[in-house]
Every structure is written in structure tokens, then in C-alpha cells.
């Protein structure tokens, strides 16, 4: 585990912003994949 407290405030702040950016991209890709899987299932239920 990296101890961010040992770094300057600018590095800590940069790491925080990077973490939020990374989470946003992972969520975009992850939920996008989930949507692609779920949409046909929902459509099938709707037209069942």
C-alpha cells in the first residue's frame, strides 16, 4: 500500500483526482457492458 501522506499536498491531490477519474472510466465501461448484457434480457421480458 502506498503511503500518500509521505508525499507533497500536490501529489496527494493529483492522486485523488486520478483515483476519481479512474473510477469514472471503470464505471462507464463496466455499466456500459452491463447495459449491453441487460438490454436484450429486458427486451425479451417486455415482449414475452
Amino acid at each position: 500500500m502506498i503511503d500518500l501522506a509521505a508525499y507533497s499536498p500536490a501529489v496527494q491531490a493529483g492522486a485523488l483526482v486520478g483515483a476519481v477519474l479512474l473510477e469514472a472510466i471503470v464505471l462507464y465501461v463496466g455499466y456500459g457492458a452491463l447495459e449491453r448484457v441487460a438490454t436484450p434480457v429486458v427486451e425479451r421480458i417486455k415482449h414475452a
Binding site: 496527494q12 491531490a13 483515483a19 476519481v20 473510477e23 469514472a24 472510466i25 464505471l27 462507464y28
Partner: protein, 345 residues
């Protein structure tokens, strides 16, 4: 029980609240993040943590939304780049203002009162607009509205007058439209100041300002606004992060909930008529305004129960409107399924 140093109940609360905000943001295209900072203030977080974490949440949400709009070709990167310059200056001044007020011990009070006035004002406007239109279509604030044609009669005279001033240097934006560079920088600065001061994306003001004051077509205004929020939110988060104002244990669960909620809210725009829900949106903003007012009164008179009432009210407001969106979506889908099942093929 704790996960990542945060109580499970608090974690579930943040994910649920993020989900509700995401549904609202996805459905109305704006306004959802406006609830986060007041909610954190009501929960008792210090002003700089509430504003800084609210801004980091807006940054993450804007990244996700911009990725979608980029795919649709609705981002003017030149206009966005210029707006980033004006917004950055505004955010820095807004942030200095927050820290100055914090040193004086007035930050929570001034930010709270500003929220009450803004949320209350916009809430009254939206509610009045929804009630007077009485179901008529109104493209303002709707995601799908980005693709609507602009009715010249819908532009107020004052906006036409402002657009007619052609202060050089002029620049060309998407669609071949000529706009004044000073107007672009002025709008960017004013909304950046608000972003830095309140920890919001500023889209609820910047988007209409780009449309009415600069003359940017709505689809480009929406996409460029989101692109710009990525930078303003990122810069704001960085500046607040350097002062210990960004709490990742708040931002991460909020974002996880909002990313899912935004997809559901966006999908709902194609199913539910926005005008049916808009009045609830206005009432939710008014509810948020009253909630922050309760919290301010609770702090001023040292009555703890008023803080609790404010917190419950802000959660109920968001829950009511996001619930109305999801309920209307399910009801409409069921209705359509019944109609298609009943009709002979």
C-alpha cells in the same frame, strides 16, 4: 461494521443517494449534483469537505457524461478550451472566497444562505414554469432536448439584444456561428466563480447562459458544458484536494451509485414525458432549499432537531422525484406491453 474505513450504513446511504442523484441528472440533464453539497453540509461535514467532495463528485459524473456526448459529436473543443480559461480564474477566486470566509467562521453560513436563495429561486421558477405550461412541451433541461430545433421566438428579447453586441475579437464556433470572445470568457468566469464557491458544476447556469447569452446551439452547449465541467471539476478537486477538502470515502460510493442511476435516468427520457415530472423537480429544489434553511436555523439557534429535519427533508425530496421517474418509467413500459399484447398482430 466498516468497509474502506467507512461504516456500512453510511456507505449504503452514499450509494443510494448517489443513485438518486444519478437518476435525476440522467433524466433532467442538470441539477442533480446541486443536492450533494447541501446534503454533506446537513450531515455535518465541514464546508471545505462538503464543497471539495461535491466538486470531485461532479468531476467524476461529468467524465462519464462527456464520454457519451463525445460519441454523439456534441463537443466543441475550441469553445470548451476557451471556457476552461475563464472558468479556472473564476474557480480560484471562488475557492479563495470560501477559505477566507472559513477563516472568519462564516463559510457554512454564507454558502448555506446562497444555496437557499439559489435553490429556492430556481425551484420557484421551474415549478411556476411547469404549472403554467400545464403539460406543454418545454425542452429546457431535458437530455433529449439537445436535439430539438431552436425556436427563435423562445429566445427572450434581452438575450437577442445581448447576442447582437459584437465586441471584437469575434470567433467562429460549431455550426459557423460568430460569437464574441469576451462574452465567452465572461460567462465562463461568472459560472466558474459559482462553481468554486458552491462546489457545483455550474451547468444549471452555464448551459442556459451559453444558449441565451452567447448563442451556442443547445446540443453543442450541452456537450461542451459537460467537457468544460470535466476540467473545472478536475481543477477544483485538485485545489480543494491540496487543502484536504476531498474525501474519497464520500466521493467513491456516491459516484458508484450515480453512474448506474444516470444510465437509468437517461434511458427513462425516451420513455417518460418530462413535463409530467418537471413539477416534482421544481418541488425537489424547493425542498432542498427549505432543508438547508432548517440546517442554518439549527446551527444558529443550536437546535439539533432542525438539522435532522433538514437532512430527512433533503433525502425525501431526492427520493420522491427519482422514485417518480422510475415509477413512471415502469408504468409506461407496462402500459405499452399491455397495449402491444392486446392488439392483434
Amino acid at each position: 461494521m466498516e468497509l474502506f474505513g467507512i461504516a456500512l450504513t453510511t456507505l449504503a446511504l452514499f450509494v443510494s443517494f448517489g443513485f438518486m442523484v444519478g437518476v435525476l441528472f440522467g433524466f433532467f440533464g442538470m441539477g442533480g449534483s446541486f443536492l450533494v453539497t447541501p446534503a454533506l453540509l446537513v450531515m455535518g461535514y465541514p464546508a471545505r469537505v462538503a464543497v471539495g467532495s461535491g466538486m470531485a463528485f461532479v468531476f467524476g459524473t461529468a467524465v462519464i457524461a462527456t464520454l457519451k456526448h463525445h460519441d454523439l459529436g456534441q463537443v466543441d473543443y475550441k469553445l470548451g478550451g476557451l471556457m476552461i480559461v475563464g472558468t479556472s480564474v473564476g474557480i480560484e477566486l471562488g475557492r479563495i472566497g470560501v477559505f477566507y470566509l472559513e477563516d472568519l467562521g462564516l463559510a457554512s453560513g454564507v454558502i448555506g444562505v446562497t444555496y437557499v436563495v439559489l435553490l429556492g429561486g430556481i425551484g420557484l421558477f421551474v415549478t411556476r414554469n411547469a404549472l403554467t405550461n400545464d403539460g406543454e412541451d418545454d425542452s429546457g433541461g431535458h437530455h433529449d432536448g439537445a436535439d430539438d430545433e431552436i425556436d427563435p421566438d423562445a429566445i427572450p428579447d434581452i438575450a437577442k439584444k445581448i447576442q447582437s453586441y459584437r465586441v471584437p475579437p469575434m470567433m467562429t464556433i460549431a455550426g459557423g456561428i460568430q460569437v464574441s470572445l469576451w462574452m465567452v470568457l465572461g460567462v465562463a468566469f461568472a459560472t466558474g466563480l459559482l462553481s468554486g464557491f458552491l462546489g457545483v458544476g455550474g451547468g444549471f447556469i452555464r448551459m442556459p447562459a451559453m444558449f441565451y447569452l452567447i448563442g451556442v446551439p443547445v446540443p453543442v452547449a450541452v456537450g461542451t458544458d459537460l467537457f468544460e465541467i470535466v476540467f473545472s471539476g478536475g481543477i477544483g478537486s485538485f485545489l480543494y484536494g491540496m487543502e484536504g477538502g476531498v474525501d474519497l470515502s464520500i466521493v467513491a460510493p456516491l459516484l458508484a451509485g450515480s453512474a448506474l442511476g444516470a444510465r437509468i435516468g437517461s434511458a427513462a427520457t425516451g420513455i417518460v414525458d418530462e413535463s409530467d415530472i418537471k413539477v416534482y423537480f421544481g418541488l425537489m429544489l424547493l425542498g432542498g432549499s427549505v432543508a438547508v434553511a432548517f440546517q442554518q436555523a439549527g446551527d444558529y439557534f443550536a437546535i439539533e432537531v432542525l438539522n435532522t429535519v433538514g437532512f430527512v427533508l433533503i433525502l425525501l425530496s431526492a427520493f420522491m422525484v427519482s422514485g417518480a421517474v422510475i415509477y413512471s418509467t415502469i408504468a409506461t413500459v407496462r402500459e405499452r406491453s399491455n397495449v402491444s399484447a392486446a392488439s392483434p398482430d
